[in-house]
């Protein structure tokens, strides 16, 4: 009994301090109360006021920029300290210190990848007096003020008490690491490894056909050209991968596959668009944005407005960082989507036994650098990790052939400086100039201003290699190194187009005529959301803010609108059972909307999964492909769409063991299987097979406590619809929705979740219903918030 009270046992905390009624986990009840307060913060220069709306949105008004960032740090930490600590630990490879051996793989991976090293370099590059440096220091002071306060009043988050540790002081490097976390999530991609493994199994010929450089299907690029002339390198055909390269790729693939979800980019899914006054019902520019990320509780976002002499901005910030990432100021609004271009390159290093610990590069033997880390592990001995680095980057595999990694996220990038300039910009010129310094991750930044201008620019690095096939591991001997990036003036961008509309949804930004390498098709989204958004925006008539909201929750599946007519044609001569006939009739009368009450949606989705399986599984089985088909399904689906529409006799339909057949044969077989499967799981009446019975969404607790999840709940949409909800149980999607109408000067937004990470707080999930229904909350100004009902006021004093 005494042991359990005083000491932790395995995953259990020491019961005494954990359940202490005055300082233990029960203090989350007091923490959940938010009332008017007057408090003193170390480091403040002048008084600061914080207004908290009834829904938790924070409005910070400071008399100096320094105080603005200090107060932002305090407010973030007041509501999200555990989340912030988890995020910095993840990037710094320190999760094992509190969660034990279970987190060791993640820590090793992160320390190899190098977010911490990059953050340290970025911090070192900021000279004394630099505004970003000052902002980071002020922000850290604010976080540390909250940590000190929470410790003194015993109101550290319950998770700290239950896991049994205290947060260390916040530093500017922690903020830069969190910025790195996001870069990793949005731009670290293992595609070349997957393609290498597939190449080894299927052969260079099929791999080249199925994983082409340019997208095989019809897409809606936002920048149609013409493009400035530049030297064009010929597209090379796929080379064959060696055994050693395949071994190395397999080791890296397995290592990456063992990581928790969300650490690297899996598929793109974000939307943004802008409408010019010529197409706007209000007469002003419209802007809409909904970045799609893992939907967690608490959310990655924290909503706030910031007012100081230098800043008047509102929107969402990432806890742990001082600025607004998506939002608006007095003159401009912006949002972003992932640009999806290739930013990860793998290099096979040339080694020789006569030159131990060396690799051959640029005509000479170079010695690997190494960095040592100690990883403290809760309940076990500290692990010593040595990270080996070539000129390309960290070595991630030494099986077969030593492979190192060049990743754009490892280049120091003062994104926070850029962000502060964006926050202060008042014109496209200032906005665009600010983005010159944005390097990684590359994003499609959409823009609309109060003078009726709209723009879209894919800012960031687009790495170019001197020669070779960057979609496979490249030779590390120097000739295939990354030599630069597309010049800023030549990256995809459009300003005030004649059409009056701009849109991005992770699709190819440009046409095949674009003269620079962006990545291969499987880095990008297949483009169905972009096609649907373009279809709606380019329709006749004027568009309103309500139309923007409606498009954000659009459930029309563009792929279905292309394929279902072909399927119905293929089934027209097929003998069908009564159940199959009923299912076919559902499809024939369908509007292609993936609504929860639609039975046709279930038939379509199940058919499509079955069609992919029917086409590719025999290849995967007969050729023993070592990559899970699901890991490359978006690309395979794009191929299948293209063949179905334009090449129904493609050899892919005649896999080994299935004989000679075409697309229609595969569709018929897939349809029979899909209906049989649905009948088995949902009953014999196709009208009852509603989409909501097999498709749900779940918001997952960040600490992986399933009882604190929201859902699963029946949900509309799928992976192809603007309302993104991929998979049978969708755990990612629109993480923030914003609509700006400059004509009526209205700003609206919402994210799923709530401002507080405390599950006992009324602000833990209070925004979910609004978000789920497709509604938005008004983004109030600080003055409006102060007079709103239920607002709470804090006075912060030096």
């Amino acid at each position: 009994m005494l042991y359990a009270a005083f000491l932790p046992a395995g995953p259990l905390p020491a019961l005494g301090p954990a359940f202490n009624p005055t300082t233990g986990a029960w203090t989350m009840a007091a923490d959940a109360q938010v009332t008017d307060r007057m408090l003193h913060l170390v480091g403040l220069q002048q008084p600061v006021s914080v207004t908290l709306e009834a829904n938790g949105t924070a409005h910070i008004a400071a008399q100096t920029d320094h105080d603005l960032f200090l107060a932002t740090g305090y407010v973030h930490a007041r509501f999200r300290l555990f989340q912030m600590d988890l995020m910095r630990r993840q990037g710094e490879g320190r999760l094992s210190e509190v969660f034990g051996k279970a987190a060791l793989d993640t820590d090793r991976f992160e320390l190899r990848l190098g977010l911490l090293r990059t953050a340290q370099v970025e911090w070192g590059q900021l000279p004394a007096g630099d505004p970003t440096r000052d902002a980071l220091l002020a922000y850290a002071q604010g976080v540390n003020d909250r940590i000190a306060e929470a410790e003194s009043i015993h109101q550290l988050g319950a998770m700290f008490t239950l896991v049994g540790y205290q947060p260390k002081p916040w530093t500017p490097i922690d903020t830069l690491v969190i910025k790195g976390d996001m870069t990793q999530t949005l731009s670290f991609d293992d595609t070349p490894i997957l393609v290498a493994l597939i190449n080894k199994s299927l052969g260079a010929d099929l791999t080249s056909e199925w994983f082409p450089v340019l997208p095989p299907n019809r897409q809606s690029p936002y920048d149609p050209g013409p493009y400035p002339k530049a030297a064009i390198a010929p597209i090379q055909t796929m080379r064959t991968v060696t055994d050693a390269e395949a071994q190395s790729a397999e080791a890296a693939y397995q290592a990456i596959a063992s990581l928790p979800a969300g650490l690297l980019r899996t598929e793109g899914a974000s939307n943004n668009w802008a409408v010019a006054p010529s197409k706007s019902a209000s007469g002003g520019a419209l802007l809409a944005g909904d970045p799609h990320l893992d939907l967690t509780l608490p959310s990655i976002w924290f909503q706030l407005s910031q007012d100081s002499p230098g800043f008047h901005v509102a929107g969402v910030s990432i806890p742990g960082t001082p600025g607004v990432l998506l939002g608006h100021n007095q003159h401009i609004a912006w949002s972003l989507t992932d640009a999806m271009n290739q930013q990860t390159f793998f290099y096979a290093e040339k080694e020789d036994k006569a030159h131990p610990n060396q690799y051959f590069w640029n005509g000479a033997w170079q010695t690997y650098r190494s960095v040592s880390y100690d990883i403290p592990v809760a309940g076990a001995a500290t692990e010593h990790l040595i990270v080996t680095l070539s000129v390309h980057g960290p070595v991630i595999s030494d099986r077969g052939v030593t492979t190192s990694l060049w990743w754009g996220g490892n280049l120091p990038s003062q994104d926070l400086t850029v962000l502060m300039h964006i926050n202060q910009a008042s014109s496209w010129q200032e906005f665009r100039d600010a983005l010159r310094g944005w390097h990684s991750p590359t994003h499609n930044f959409v823009y609309a201003d109060d003078r009726g201008n709209i723009g879209l620019i894919s800012a960031g690095y687009f790495p170019q290699v001197a020669k070779g096939q960057p979609w496979l591991p490249l030779p590390g001997t120097g000739e295939s190194d990354v030599t630069g990036t597309i010049p800023f003036d030549y990256i995809p961008q459009v300003y005030d187009p004649a059409s009056g509309i701009l849109w991005s949804a992770n699709q190819w930004q440009v046409t095949p005529a674009y003269p620079y390498y962006l990545g291969t098709a499987n880095f990008y989204d297949p483009g169905y959301r972009a096609n649907e958004i373009h279809r709606v925006l380019s329709g006749p008539g004027k568009l309103s803010a309500a139309d923007m909201m409606s498009l954000q929750t659009d459930t029309r599946d563009f792929l279905a609108s292309e394929i279902v007519p072909v399927l119905l044609q293929s089934l027209s001569t097929e003998k069908l059972s009564p159940t199959e006939s009923a299912a076919r009739d559902l499809l024939a009368g369908w509007d292609y909307r993936m609504d929860t009450s639609s039975a046709a949606a279930s038939v379509w989705w199940t058919f499509w999964q079955s069609y992919i399986s029917e086409t590719f599984d025999p290849w995967w089985k007969s050729r023993s492909v070592k990559v899970k088909r699901q890991d490359v399904e978006r690309m395979l689906g794009q191929d299948l769409e293209t063949w179905t529409l334009t090449d129904p006799a493609n050899r892919a339909f005649s896999a080994p063991g299935v004989g000679s057949r075409g697309a229609a044969d595969a569709q018929r077989t897939a349809f029979h299987r899909a209906i049989a499967g649905l009948g088995k799981t949902l009953g014999s009446n196709p009208r009852s097979w509603t989409w909501g019975r097999i498709h749900t969404r779940e918001l997952t607790n960040l600490a992986l406590i399933t009882s604190l999840n929201y859902g699963p709940r029946a949900e509309r949409g799928d992976g192809n619809t603007p309302l993104a909800a991929g998979g049978a149980i969708s755990t990612s999607g629109p993480s923030w929705r914003m609509v700006v109408d400059w004509g009526s000067a209205t700003f609206q937004g919402v994210y799923p979740g709530g401002q507080s990470e405390n599950p006992a707080s009324s602000w833990y999930v209070n925004r979910v219903d609004t978000w789920w229904d497709g509604r938005l909350d008004p983004m109030l100004s600080a003055a409006q918030a102060a007079s709103a009902r239920g607002a709470v006021s804090w006075s912060l004093a030096p």
């Binding site: 009994m1 009624p21 986990a25 007091a30 604190l708």
Partner: protein
């Protein structure tokens, strides 16, 4: 009468110290109480009662001020008991009770090992 006074004082001291954040107070107070009271059958239940009261009162005060329902449910969820908020409440009071009981029992057992003066 002396027993009741001792019990009352011990309970109040334990409560005051717990309110200061020192959760282990019932154990120490139970230890002292058990060392003073020669009858184990009295000391042990009294120690348990001291532990229970000194942990119950702060919890009741917190409930009165903030309402512990959502917190109890959240703790149950974190502990893997769904949203059965009663479980963390019972567990918390059990820890307090057992701290007091263990202290008193340990002292009583120690007393039993010391030979009585002839």
């Amino acid at each position: 009468m002396r027993l009741y006074v001792s019990f009352l004082i011990a309970g109040l001291v334990a409560l005051a110290v717990v309110l200061l954040g020192l959760w282990w107070a019932p154990f120490v107070i139970g230890l002292v109480f058990g060392a003073q009271e020669r009858r184990g059958r009295v000391a042990v239940p009294a120690g348990a009662a001291i532990g229970l009261v000194s942990w119950l009162v702060p919890l009741a005060v917190a409930h009165e001020r903030y309402g512990l329902g959502p917190t109890a449910q959240s703790l149950a969820a974190i502990m893997g008991f769904g949203h059965e908020g009663a479980i963390p409440v019972v567990l918390t009071l059990l820890v307090g009770t057992l701290l007091g009981l263990t202290g008193a029992w340990l002292a009583s057992a120690g007393r039993a090992l010391i030979p009585a003066p002839r």
